[in-house]
């Protein structure tokens, strides 16, 4: 029998029991729909997060005070700890390969000006921050170069903050008040939008020393470092660690996070999500396979007479086997296709209902889902098909 024969007989048999066929593949359809949906959300999130992470480039690392491993659990820690200081930042600058070093002292404060006020994050920074974060200045200039310990009384506003305080009017040269300190506005940032949940358009930048004074800080919360290219990541991190350990009296009382490592952790998390989805897929396909197996087993029992007839008109045992196996595959692929359509449909509805939610369905996943359902059919159909093929023609003819 050729492929057309299998197609005609197999599809015909499935179609003759529409409702029953549908019900038997419901499990597979639901499973595949769930997998398509979950992988769409997972992949969407992965892509979204990746885009956000790599905005800053992969050639940067961050240093924070305190020893915290990548899982966010503080290490056991005793004795005196050294602060992370501007001097630390200055000394790091001398490490070869390093392009910019940006110490950051962060505080939240009310910024008032033009008779209005607004509570925002205030970044104590140096001119290097612009280079490290790859932000653009929109108007005026960023923080002035020179000795970071000087702490001049100037501020650079995010465009949203500027608009909230000064509207469309020119803000350059005007004054804002932050925690009782009067600062002259020297620049407005270009719009940047939200990154990792933080609205960078609604912040103010002031010289790091000014911020430390305003917020009563005796250390910086972070030193961001950029270097020539990602390949240097480990090398630079190693040099920074050696240098700071040396400066901090032999203690590693700080944490270095490279972007490379962040991405590795992120991918590990996403892989765990993928594994969970795969487990759900496996379970639902198993349940689906049992449904199809049951249905096919019953079908073979009901069609003993038909099997006998097919044998009488010349079908070999192998052809009977192939026919029932093919029928099972037709069923599961139908279920798989139904599931893919349902999954994509629900994804579309979600996208319409919640446009912000990142959703992405790689075509490979759709192909994989359909392939997987075909394989499920083969597995589920093996025993029923064997049962059909092993029937003796005479017994089968009598068995109706």
């Amino acid at each position: 029998m050729d492929a057309a024969g299998y197609l005609e007989l197999g599809v015909g048999a499935v179609r003759s029991h529409r409702l029953r066929s549908m019900l038997s593949v419901l499990g597979i359809a639901i499973g595949i729909a769930a997998v398509i949906l979950l992988t769409s959300i997972g992949e969407g999130t992965r892509r979204y997060m990746l885009a956000q992470f790599t905005q800053f480039g992969t050639n940067i690392l961050g240093i924070n005070p305190g020893k915290i491993d990548t899982l966010g659990i503080p290490g056991v820690f005793g004795g005196t700890t050294h602060k992370l200081t501007l001097d630390d930042a200055e000394s790091i600058r001398r490490i070869p390969g390093i392009e910019a070093v940006a110490p950051v002292a962060l505080g939240q404060a009310r910024v008032a000006g033009n008779g209005r006020g607004r509570s925002v994050f205030v970044y104590g920074a140096t001119p290097d921050l612009l280079e490290v974060l790859k932000f653009q200045i929109g108007q005026g200039s960023f923080l002035p170069p020179g000795d970071p310990r000087r702490g001049s009384l100037v501020a650079v506003l995010g465009p949203k903050l500027k608009r909230e305080l000064f509207g469309e009017a020119n803000a350059l040269g005007r004054f804002v008040r932050v925690a009782d300190t009067r600062l002259r506005v020297i620049g407005i940032m270009a719009p940047k939008g939200t990154l990792l949940g933080m609205d960078f358009d609604d912040v103010a930048y002031v010289p790091v020393t000014t911020a430390m004074r305003m917020f009563n800080l005796d250390e910086v919360q972070e030193i961001d470092v950029s270097f020539a290219h990602e390949g240097l990541s480990e090398n630079v991190a190693e040099n920074v660690r050696d240098l700071l350990v040396d400066r901090h009296g032999g203690r590693e009382d700080f944490t270095i996070t490279t972007q490379t490592e962040m991405l590795r952790v992120f991918h590990r998390v996403m892989d765990a999500v993928t594994a969970t989805v795969a487990a759900i897929a496996a379970i639902s396909l198993l349940v689906g396979a049992i449904g199809v197996f049951t249905m096919m087993w019953i079908t073979v029992g009901e069609r003993v007479g038909e099997i006998g007839l097919l044998r009488a008109v010349g079908a070999t045992a192998r052809e009977i086997h192939g026919l029932f196996l093919f029928e099972a595959v037709v069923l599961t692929v139908m279920g798989g296709a139904l599931g893919v359509l349902a999954g994509l449909g629900i994804a579309l509805v979600i996208r319409l209902a919640a446009p912000g939610l990142p959703l992405y369905t790689p075509i490979e996943y759709v192909v994989a889902a359909l392939t997987l359902s075909a394989v499920t059919g083969m597995v589920a159909g093996v025993l029923p098909a064997r049962r059909a093929a092993q029937l003796h023609p005479v017994e089968a003819l009598r068995g109706e």
Binding site: M1, D2, A4, G5, E8, L9, G12, A13, S16, G305, E306, G308, L309, L310, R311, A312, V313, G314, A315, T316, A317, R318, E319, H392, P393, V394, L397, E400
Partner: protein
Amino acid sequence: MIELDGVQRSYPVGAEPLVALKDVSARIAKGEYLAVMGPSGSGKSTLLNILGCLDRPTAGSYRLDGREVGTLSADALSEVRRHHIGFVFQSFHLIGRLSAHENVALPMLLAGIPEDDRRARISTALDAVGLVHRAHHRPNELSGGECQRVAIARATVMRPHILLADEPTGNLDTANGEQIMRLLERMNADGLTLVVVTHDPNIGRRSDRVLVLRDGEIVQRVPGRELRPDALFESRA
């Protein structure tokens, strides 16, 4: 030409194997019309199934056109059935979800005959049994007689040279049975070897030759026209 020599078929049931056919020898000439008669359980169907290569003798030899087929593999037997043998059953054995047309198409589908060819041959076969107008009806929309005519079209569409019918009129009334027998006899007249298992002495009398079986053995071989009404009864003695 069919040659059976010392054919035996036994089933391993319990300690003593059940012998359904013992030492059956017979020649059936090409184009012959043979009736197989005998009481129920005498081995008629068993004999027919062996003739049709649906079953194999447990001993003895079965030569079909000079070729030993009793020892062929299951796949080779399928091949023989596909091309040389047509079956007609008492219970029709039509597939309920398929139309008459599709039922007749089955053997050709299995043999991989191209679609265009199939169409023409189905028309011819349905025409021969007078059912072209019923081609797209399902079995449940056909009468018993019509069902058996579809089955005959299916049995002959591959142009076999042997037609085996196991009580083909058993489920039909006299008029329909008569019509079916006439169809089969016409095909025999066209050169088809016809073997009919029957309980009906009237059919036996119309055949070229009657084999009477009892307890798995041939107890009588007579030309059909010589079959007396009490022949079956007599053979029990």
